[in-house]
Amino acid sequence: MSRARADEEEYWHSSKFRAFTFDDEDDELSQLKESKRAVNSLRDIVDDDDDDLERVSWSGEPVGSISWSIKETASSSTSSLEGRDSSLQKGSSSYAAFPKQVSSYSLSSLFKGRNKLPSFQSLSDALSDTGVKNYAPELRRPKAEYKICSLERFRSLQDKLVLLDEAVAGHDGNVITAVLIFLKRTLRREILFRELEVRQVALCHLIHFLKETGEQKLLLDLLRFLDRTEEVALSQYREHLNIQDVEKRREFLKGCIGLPFSAEDTSHIQDHYTLLERQIIIEANDRHLETAGQSEIFRKYPRKASILNMPLVTTLFYSCFYHYTEAEGTFSSPTNLKKTFKIPDKQYVLTALAARAKLRAWDDVDALFTTKNWLGYTKKKAPIGFHRVVEILQRNNAPVQVLQEYVRLVEDVETRLNLATKYKCHDVVIETYKDLKDRIQLTAYKCKVERGSAEEEKINSILNNMQIRWKN
């Protein structure tokens, strides 16, 4: 406090604190920085202890807000929670002895004594007590007015259908679902399905409801009845996510291949199965290799995770990393994967490049882009553009010598210059300026290279070369 007082004294008497002046031509970023500085310098002046603004804990939650209080009250009781855990087991057995309260609100007992066909509103009221009572007192009606009705009264099919139509017309999903539960219980399946087919909204609700409650079998029956075969297929395929065991999952996927997907999707599902099949083989093999400790690559770069259930491109990366040189015949070789899954060249090169660069296997990188024509001449080609190659190499910390080789191959002059300057590939910059006959830029570049270096010498010799016709 006394320190604060001293600060205050200083503040009143000194003229150290001056308003900032802003250069209007400044770009906004520096404006922001200055605003911040200005504001921060004020911080010392104005902050005093009796902060009568709204109290806020560091996390910003106003003290007293609900989520803040949950944390507070919870933390005060967690300690005692732990100690009591031992008595936890007896929970369910002692529960049975507990006198169960009779439910006053179950489907069948709910709707009592109504002779007439109930209107939508009373139905809604009975089921969920929803009148507009909340918030709007003037719309409130006395409790006694709520009409209670029993769905069991609806015996004939026709009554049931009228009931369903009424519910649908009300759009209250809760009511629709209630009626559907009732119909599902009291109607034969074929009849239920048949009637729902012409009642799309109700149908959607039932499908949603079956998905929610996990009644997979009934759901599939229904979709099949409706001839929504693709949906059946997808819904069934989805099940594989719930299967943890890979062998079982693979078997399941195998079964999915024959399902009536669209042509395009069928090939994806087939690929999914094949991929998992491969992964199981590769995984078993590699785990063995790794534990045996014989393979150098696994010793040097232990695997971080299993390859099971990884996407295709990740698998390709893995195989380019650990199995690059294998012959096409093995399941784990990159070329085999490429062929089996028809991986496009571009994708393949990108992945292989990333994997080999990570291992700093520069020869492999070189080979990736070298093509030989029939005369035996070699040529560099990259389906992804050499600027992308440079980016990937740079991300993997390739040395300048390697980098510059590919920067040189970037076709667009401006991109090449940008990349070369950015990654300090001096030779490329110098040669490019020479090719452009741009003496001014070349001269200017001299200050970017080290004094007395070979690069400086090179620049000087070019500048002194009388043969060159400079454009400037």
Partner: protein
């Protein structure tokens, strides 16, 4: 606490008050001390209605988060579960109840409060588990429309879009209609209803029906709203996919605003004073509330981000100058006056510091190369360039395994801007996505197709250029600093939804019949009769008030665009905005993705 709710044209404090009253009534039903067990999702929305102090006044002594296992041993008479009607939550509650020690004394009573609606399905579920009878009170709390700001209401129903357009479950529309009935009960019958889209039609029908079925509901309140405009989200699938470029929109895009709160990386928000908590940087995210209660935020939230920097620097100058005043304060009176202004200046100072830090954080991202590239592609698509072939940037992003949601946003945007993709292009994207991110995403792609976000071009005709030109969705000469058109919120693209609202007000939809027919769903107009005494005689120059209800979600940029229209000098219309959920492209796509993890039970 809630002063900002009454700052707008319509005083929304009344709605909040009604909500609080309802809550108190329920709490008093359960006599004695209580503990509340919260469905965590609800704490945010509830926080906008009530603070802990209100609950405490009604004997709420403890609060816990709903989770499986045994309930903490609080010595209270009542345990109340505040939950959404979801089956997975019912399973947790069942677990809690079954593990309750029946030997304890005194025994605790259980109650459930469903928000916003009791669900028969859930109660049936509880019954099957044999625990339904354990609950003494099972009630509902109709938290339909929650006031977020003076001109903004949201139902915060995360899955509304998915339910309406994917599952054809119209329950959330029913809730929307209920919410509108509540609004009308408080603010008078809305005489004119306009709408576009299937869901809009349903909601209007339900409103009319509900009105008919409550004959006693003729209320005598003078109508505050002149017009209600109901808009389906699927009439304008494009807008949420684009990156929002207003200040608030960008905060949401980058950090996600939840119930008016945002969590930010703490590094830029150093502790206020040295010696307070040592020199360690805080590791917990900094949480800030963002609403119009904060003067500075109200001023900058809806600006294009490029116009925010200059406002902040101007404010910094003003505040600096204000503090300089102390040098001129000579007499005791002057000093006294200066000191009396200090608290206000201090609040302004801390607000400025916060927003300068946030702006810096955002600037780091908006100046990045990738943000620029992404935006360029978006803008190309929206202005109709190269929407019919495989895009290089998208391919690159897939190859570099950028987040899947980003890819999906772009591909969907391209599809929407081309009225569907050529089959070959679509197949290409699909293959690349499945190979890179995993085949199981076939389920998500399927959902997007069902929702109409990603589809093959069937008609062979691309309607988007006509729609774009007629509605002037793309403006080349956009002014970000001093905007003269709503297109500033996306730096060139004028949100279709808001354009529809604008054209409805003036000159009316009759002028765009042709385009309306190209957009999905019917458009319509309804009138609700008012008793003669309540018919409005407008003062000359008085603005009309229109409530725009976005069924399926609205973005902050769209809200900004509507606020811009409200503030136009000769606009003639002020807007209040309601929605099922505040969304951005990311949260929206996420809600449509297939949940790939199996349920935890």
């Amino acid at each position: 606490m809630a002063a900002h709710l009454s700052s707008g044209r319509v005083n929304l404090t009344a709605l909040r008050e009604a909500g609080r009253r309802e809550l108190r009534e329920f709490l008093d039903k359960c006599a004695g001390s209580k503990a509340i067990v919260w469905d965590e999702y609800l704490t945010g929305p509830f926080g906008l209605i009530a603070q802990y102090s209100l609950l405490k006044e009604h004997e709420v002594e403890k609060m816990f988060t709903l989770k499986p296992g045994r309930l903490p041993p609080a010595d209270v008479k009542n345990i109340i579960f505040f939950v959404r009607p979801k089956l997975e939550l019912m399973d947790i509650i069942t677990d809690n109840v079954l593990r309750e020690d029946r030997g304890r004394s005194p025994q605790r009573d259980f109650h459930i409060l469903f928000v916003p609606r009791r669900s028969l399905l859930c109660e049936q579920w509880l019954k099957e588990q044999g625990v339904l009878g354990s609950f003494i009170h099972r009630e509902q709390y109709s938290l339909d429309l929650i006031p977020f700001d003076g001109d903004l209401l949201s139902m915060e129903s995360e899955s509304a879009f998915k339910e309406c357009y994917l599952e054809s479950d119209q329950t959330s529309l029913y809730h929307a209609a209920k919410g509108l009935m509540t609004l009308q009960a408080l603010y008078g019958t809305i005489p004119q209803i306009f709408g576009k889209g299937e869901c809009a039609r349903h909601v209007a029908n339900m409103m009319i029906r509900m009105k008919r079925e409550f004959p006693g509901s003729q209320n005598s309140i003078f109508p505050v709203f002149d017009t209600l405009l109901l808009l389906d989200r699927n009439v304008d699938l494009l807008t949420p996919l684009a990156t929002q470029l207003t200040y608030e929109g960008l905060i949401d895009e980058i950090y996600g605003i939840q119930n008016t709160y945002v969590k930010l990386p703490p590094e830029k928000f150093a502790p206020k004073k040295q010696g307070e908590g040592g020199k360690d940087l805080p590791t917990e995210p900094k949480k800030l509330q963002l609403n119009s209660a904060e003067e500075l935020y109200a001023e900058i939230r809806d600006k294009n981000f490029n116009a925010v920097g200059s406002v902040l620097s101007k404010k910094a100058k003003i505040i600096s100058a204000a503090f300089e005043e102390r040098h001129h304060a000579k007499t005791v009176g002057e000093i006294k006056q200066f000191v009396s202004q200090l608290p206000h200046m201090q609040a302004a100072r801390s607000s400025l510091a916060n927003h300068t830090s946030i702006a810096e954080l955002i600037k780091d991202i908006t100046t990045s190369e990738d943000f620029f590239d992404n935006l360029t592609v978006e803008q190309e698509f929206m202005s109709g360039i190269d929407t019919d072939k495989v895009n290089n940037y998208i391919e690159d992003c897939i190859a570099q395994k950028h987040p899947l949601i980003k890819i999906l946003r772009l591909v969907c945007l391209q599809s929407v801007c081309n009225s569907g993709l050529k089959q070959k292009v679509l197949d290409h994207y699909k293959r690349e996505i499945l190979q890179t991110y995993g085949y199981e995403h076939i389920l998500t792609l399927n959902n997007l197709e069902k929702a109409g976000l990603l589809k093959p071009q069937t008609s062979g005709r691309n309607n988007y250029p006509t729609i774009r030109k007629t509605l002037r969705l793309w403006m080349d000469d956009v002014n970000e600093q001093n905007p003269n058109d709503i297109s500033y919120v996306y730096s060139g693209y004028a949100p279709l939804s808001v354009r529809l609202a604008q054209l409805l007000a003036r000159p009316g939809w009759r002028s765009i019949e042709e385009v309306l027919k190209m957009l999905p769903g019917p458009h319509f107009e309804e009138r609700q009769q008012l008793p003669t005494g309540l018919q409005k005689k407008r003062q000359h120059g008085e603005n009309r008030v229109t409530l725009v209800f976005f069924l399926g979600g609205v973005t902050y940029a769209e809200i900004a665009a509507l606020r811009f229209l409200s503030q136009m000098e000769d606009g003639g219309t002020e807007y209040v905005i309601a929605t099922t959920k505040l969304i951005n492209g990311t949260s929206w796509i996420k809600s449509l993705m297939d949940k790939l993890e199996p349920a935890p039970f």
